[in-house]
């Protein structure tokens, strides 16, 4: 957010330009409302001059009745105003929600480890609501001020043009002062919101880590840092209060000074023929219309305006992203028939330029139809390897071929070529069938669906849920049940290459074996990242990653060649080897 200028002005201009007609309609209704202001002063002046002061009570009452009708008419115009407001505000919210959802999704896909936090929900609900409410408030208040001022100034001109000479200069001066406070106030408001957010984040950290603070004996340092943030927030709030004081003075100049000037110049105005009614009308405009409108304008612009800017800035930070639709290059991407060969040539990959590579010069060849299991300590690059084979990550150096073709760029629907099932099984709210069809670009028959579900051991769960078309609530499923659904989905897909990245870790050993055997019997090439060493026993070959070397071979070869593999297996199964 600090880097680069805010994109809000550009986006705002584009947003408003596209809704020119909505603005025109809004202005039309507002103009109708402003006749209420106009007649509020003019009617009083006329009622006095032509009616009550001239001894014609009836005429006075008629003028007041006209003013009253204008008030009621103005009230009914408000309905139209709000329709226009909705046409302006709802699209804004739609756009923000769309942007937040797309941004969060793309971000999560780029860095899955950091995904799914409360901040996204807050952006989607709270912050987009703050934007919606503040924007609506801003439009309402600004519009109301502009048209009230128009009505009042026209009224003053109609009563006596000299009145404008007296009223306009202090009004403009006060508004100028107010506008001058806007920028510094916005900066203070932003500083305050930042301080408030930093404090909230800190308090959240302390609240979740109370046990750790106590256990770590770090009470004093934690308290001191939190106090510092509390004080920083209070300092920001005080600074804001000082500008609120300045704003009150601007309000005084714009709203009250014209009244005073009117009194001071009254003898001169009366000499020039200003009537008593006109003077009363002018004072009515100033005290009953302009002053309240100014009051709300200044309070709303200061607070809501800045809040809106800050929130919009936050919500629109970063480039506009739309997830790329799968390029429709049908046919060209499907596998050429049989199970594909997977070949990695001198593949090197690091998370970031200054990080040590996770994979270094890795060579690997997986034969068509082979079942390969990858083992090694956590964090050694097993998941990275599957992501590279799937084409989700691009290696820093080296080439990856599946079925003789480079895996990147991923063309067409990748599910025709390969499927990758990660440890975190994805099940969405929808029917069981929808969930299982997820990786089938061309759909699948119910019998194929049932067969796959049976193969991986999913049928009992489907029965429990109430059949293929029963709705699934992901939150009510255990991790293992979700993994079963993801496995069924992968088994059903037409892809000739299946990558299982600890996709069975939440299953019990029996269920895991059943699922792995189902995939071994499924035609195609299979690469499994093992969570339990027992998976290695089921493989044609095993790849051992230990961070320095990668050794590949059959179970028995590896017992000879890899001390780590011996360690892994030997530690638990020594007497049976």
């Amino acid at each position: 957010m600090k880097a680069g200028r805010s994109r809000v002005p550009v986006l705002a201009r584009r947003f408003l330009a596209r809704r020119r007609w909505v603005l025109v309609r809004l202005a039309g209704w507002s103009l109708l409302e402003s006749t209420q202001t106009f007649l509020g002063g003019y009617g009083v002046a006329m009622a006095l001059d032509r009616g009550f002061l001239a001894g014609h009570t009836g005429i006075g009452l008629v003028w007041l009745a006209v003013a009253a009708v204008a008030i009621v008419l103005g009230g009914s115009a408000t309905g139209g105003t709000f329709r226009g407001l909705a046409d302006l505000v709802e699209p804004l919210r739609d756009g923000l929600v769309r942007r937040v959802a797309a941004g969060a999704l793309v971000e999560a896909i780029d860095a899955p480890a950091r995904a799914a936090d409360g901040a996204v929900v807050s952006r989607l609900t709270n912050q987009s609501e703050i934007a919606r409410d503040s924007f609506a408030g801003l439009v309402l208040v600004t519009r109301s001020f502009v048209f009230t001022a128009l009505g009042a100034l026209f009224g003053l001109a109609a009563l006596a043009p000299e009145l404008l000479v007296v009223v306009v200069p202090p009004l403009v001066l006060g508004l100028g002062l107010f506008l001058a406070t806007l920028a510094p106030m916005a900066a203070r408001q932003r500083a305050f919101l930042d301080a408030d957010e930093a404090l909230s984040a800190r308090l959240g950290m302390v609240a979740t880590g109370l046990r750790d603070v106590l256990a770590g004996g770090a009470h004093d340092s934690v308290a001191a840092r939190t106090h510092a943030l509390i004080d920083a927030e209070a300092r920001a709030a005080r600074s804001l209060a000082r500008w609120a004081g300045a704003r009150a003075i601007a309000l005084g100049v714009a709203g009250q000074l014209p009244v005073l000037l009117l009194l001071v110049t009254a003898p001169w105005l009366l000499d020039r023929g200003l009537t008593a009614g006109a003077l009363l009308g002018a004072l009515t405009y100033l005290t009953q219309a302009l002053l309240p409108a100014l009051h709300t304008l200044m309070h709303a612009l200061g607070a809501a305006g800045t809040r809106l800017l800050v929130v919009l800035d936050r919500l629109t930070a970063g480039p506009t992203v739309t997830p790329a639709a799968a390029r429709r290059v049908a046919g060209s991407t499907g596998a050429s028939g049989g199970p594909p060969r997977v070949r990695l040539h001198r593949v090197t990959f690091a998370y970031g330029p200054s990080a040590a590579p996770v994979l270094r010069d890795l060579d690997l060849s997986v034969e068509p139809g082979e079942h390969l299991v990858v083992v090694g300590p956590s964090g050694i690059g097993k998941s990275t390897l599957t992501a590279i084979v799937a084409g989700v990550l691009a290696p820093d150096r080296g080439e990856v071929y599946v079925d003789g073709r480079p895996v990147r760029p991923v063309g067409g629907d990748p599910s025709r070529l390969r499927v990758l099932i990660p440890q975190q099984a994805y099940v969405f709210t929808g029917s069981v069938r929808e969930n299982l069809h997820y990786l089938c670009p061309d759909g699948a028959s119910t019998s194929a669906l049932t067969a796959s579900a049976d193969a991986v051991g999913l049928l009992p769960l489907i029965d429990r849920l109430g059949g293929l078309d029963a709705p699934v609530d992901p939150a009510s499923l255990s991790q293992g049940e979700r993994q079963l659904i993801a496995l069924g989905r992968a088994h059903l897909s037409p892809a000739p290459l299946v990558l299982l990245d600890e996709a069975t870790c939440h299953l019990d050993p029996v269920a895991e074996r059943r699922a792995e055997q189902a995939f071994a019997q499924r035609p195609g090439t299979l690469i499994v990242v093992a969570h339990r060493i027992s998976s290695a026993r089921r493989a044609d070959r095993v790849l051992v990653l230990d961070g320095v070397h990668a050794v590949c071979g059959t179970h028995h070869e590896l017992l000879e060649r890899s001390s780590l593999y011996r360690d892994l297996v030997g530690d638990w199964h020594a007497e049976r080897i």
Binding site: T78, A108, I109, G216, R238, A276, L280, P414, F428
Partner: protein, 616 residues
């Protein structure tokens, strides 16, 4: 609002036993400023009431070209300037008082929260709730002094307006009073079915949020399937409905606004009409008419009093949520030292801990000799974590005593206790700006060398070096898996290891290889002392010198893993909870309910039958 004796003991003189007292305390904290704010507010109110009359009188003098006009204008000028100055000071003082009050309440709150036993805070509220209480709730509560100071003025101005209206002409007063309920009734007709659309709107919003969170959780799958565009469509499917509900909300709101917008102007016009008739009869001057119309507007501000009272009620409710937090009794700290060079002998004597009326530890007697490693095992709910918490005084006991090297924990000075007792948890909360800072977090700072040694022992050094910037990587953006988080928590505990180290399921997310390495390093590389580890895997228990087997809050048996393994009930502890122990002879059972590594670990101990060889 019940102040407990422990709270009363606290050194701080804060009123913690009630919302009223808390808010009065807040007012007292800024007493001078609050009085000044009240002064400004009262002054502003007085000017607001006087000004229409003076203005009207001045208008009359000006219209008559009378002698006192100049002086009257000067008086108007003084009043107007005074009003502006009062308003500006009120805004300034109001902001400052609110900021001071909020800071005071928050400092009080966080200090108190940090003095609580963690489980007490957790019983009272979730972390999110706690943050809300100290941020949003405090912000609302701290407006109370200013709202109260201004509230008096808010009440006086409409009342003053009403009285002034009566003084000018009793008929105008009557018109106003008669019109008020009539128009209020008219207003009510406008405002109906408001809350319904809001609820529906929020429901649709929650639906979209739910779909998004679901999809974010499946980010890896979506990335691999290349289905993000399809996902976005699915997430945003309810958006049109959200728009519909939103439009309904604006429609309802617009009608309410229209009603409110005509109420006061119509009332004022009615007052002007009657006033005009009186004017024709010579009973009222033009200036008085001006004043009357202004007073009618002021009197109509009576509605704002309701808003002010509402604000006070809300402040008080928010203050109550802060006061509730402060009423939770804090942990009392001791002052005794520990014997120098004690071996770290831990002793529990008749320890009972009760949670929600149910005992979770019942009369536990246990001695952990200094320098030994003791594993605590048992089914979930057996009281393992509570035992871990009791061992280092993360919670106080309800009966009995816990002693470290012969000194009751409750009497040891906290800074001594925390230096000597370290913890690692299943899900550690990390503090610090960087990875190194997170490991260094504790009762004293560690050197970079110590940090790296500890990280190495915890099996964390490898992945830390793979992070961009390594040890200097910022903690908040480092992508850490559950296992990596655990290893950082272990490194933190290792770096500060004292005479007792408690590992509460601190290796549960590590894969078998890493766990083995950490287990070995713990014995070899970390400062020698007593170790108490809560274990779920048989392999961990097998490495310990002794095993404490807990069941239903009691020590069921104490001994070495090898000896205990003879007991089928003990073996069942490592299987899925609720399994029938008799099924153990069935190889399928073993394969199904025990991790292969654990089972084999047991077999290494010499007792388990061969069972997991079927995979070939």
């Amino acid at each position: 609002m019940a102040a407990t004796r422990r709270t009363a003991d606290r050194a701080e003189q804060a009123p913690t036993d009630g919302t009223g007292r808390l808010l009065i305390g807040a007012v007292r904290h800024s007493a001078g400023r609050t009085a000044a704010a009240f002064g400004c507010s009262a002054g502003s109110a007085a000017v607001a009431i006087a000004l229409p009359a003076v203005l009207g009188h001045t208008l009359d003098l000006l219209l008559d070209d009378a002698a006192g006009a100049r002086r009257a204008v000067a008086l108007c000028a003084i009043l107007i300037v005074a009003e502006v100055v009062f308003d500006a000071s009120e805004a300034l003082l109001g902001g400052i008082i609110t900021a001071r009050t909020a800071a005071w309440l928050r400092r009080l709150g966080i200090d108190h929260v940090l003095s609580l036993a963690p489980h007490r805070a957790a019983e009272r509220c979730t972390p999110g709730d706690l943050v809300t209480r100290l941020t949003g709730n405090v912000a609302e509560a701290s407006t109370a002094p200013v709202t109260a100071a201004n509230g008096v003025a808010t009440l006086f101005v409409p009342l003053g307006g009403l009285i002034a209206l009566a003084l000018i002409d009793i008929r105008l007063f009557a018109v106003f009073l008669a019109g008020l309920p009539l128009l209020a009734w008219l207003l009510r007709a406008f405002v109906r079915d408001t809350s319904d659309s809001v609820t529906r709107y929020q429901r649709v919003q929650a639906d979209i949020a739910g779909r998004l969170v679901e999809a974010l959780g499946g980010a890896r799958t979506i990335a691999a399937a290349g289905s993000s565009a399809r996902e976005l469509e699915r997430i945003l499917a309810p958006l049109p409905e959200l728009g519909n509900q939103g439009r309904r909300m604006w429609h309802v709101y617009g009608r309410a606004m229209a009603g409110a917008g005509i109420l006061v102007p119509l009332l004022t016009t009615a007052v002007l009409a009657v006033g005009g008739v009186r004017l024709t009869h010579g009973d009222l001057t033009v200036g008085e008419l001006l004043a009357a119309s202004r007073y009618a507007v002021l009197a109509a501000g009576l509605g704002a009093v309701v808003g002010q009272i509402n604000a006070l009620v809300r402040s008080r409710a928010a203050g109550r949520r802060t006061a509730e937090l402060l009423a939770v009794p804090s942990m009392r700290s001791g002052t005794d030292p520990l014997p120098v060079d004690g071996p770290g002998r831990l002793e529990l004597r008749g320890v009972t801990v009760v949670r929600d009326g149910t005992p979770v530890l019942r009369d536990v007697d246990l001695i952990v000799p200094g320098g030994t490693t003791t594993a605590v095992v048992g089914h979930s709910g057996a009281g393992k974590s509570t035992l871990a918490a009791v061992a280092g005084r993360l919670t106080d006991v309800d009966a009995g005593t816990v002693l470290l090297d012969g000194v009751p924990l409750a009497r040891i000075a906290p800074e001594r206790l925390r230096r000597e007792v370290g913890y690692a948890f299943e899900r550690p909360a990390l503090f610090g700006d960087t990875i190194a800072g997170a490991i260094a977090f504790g009762p004293y700072a560690c050197s970079p060398g110590e940090i790296e040694i500890a990280a190495e022992a915890a099996g964390a050094d490898g992945f830390i070096r793979l992070l961009p910037k390594g040890y200097a990587a910022p903690l908040d953006t480092a992508p850490l898996s559950g296992g990596e988080l655990q290893r950082l928590g272990l490194a933190r505990a290792f770096a500060h290891a004292g005479r007792l180290l408690v590992l509460d399921d601190a290796t549960s997310s590590l894969d078998s290889v890493t766990e083995l390495r950490v287990g070995r390093a713990l014995v070899r590389d970390v400062r020698a002392g007593t170790r108490l580890l809560i274990a779920h895997r048989a392999s961990s228990a097998a490495r310990a010198d002794r095993v404490v087997w807990l069941e239903d809050g009691r020590v069921r048996a104490l001994g070495t893993h090898e000896v205990l393994w003879e007991d089928p009930g003990y073996r069942a502890v490592f299987a899925d909870p609720g399994e029938v122990p008799g099924a153990r002879e069935d190889p399928g059972y073993r394969a199904a309910f025990a991790d292969p590594d654990e089972t084999a670990d047991g077999s290494a101990a010499g007792a388990a039958p061969d069972s997991v060889g079927e995979a070939r």
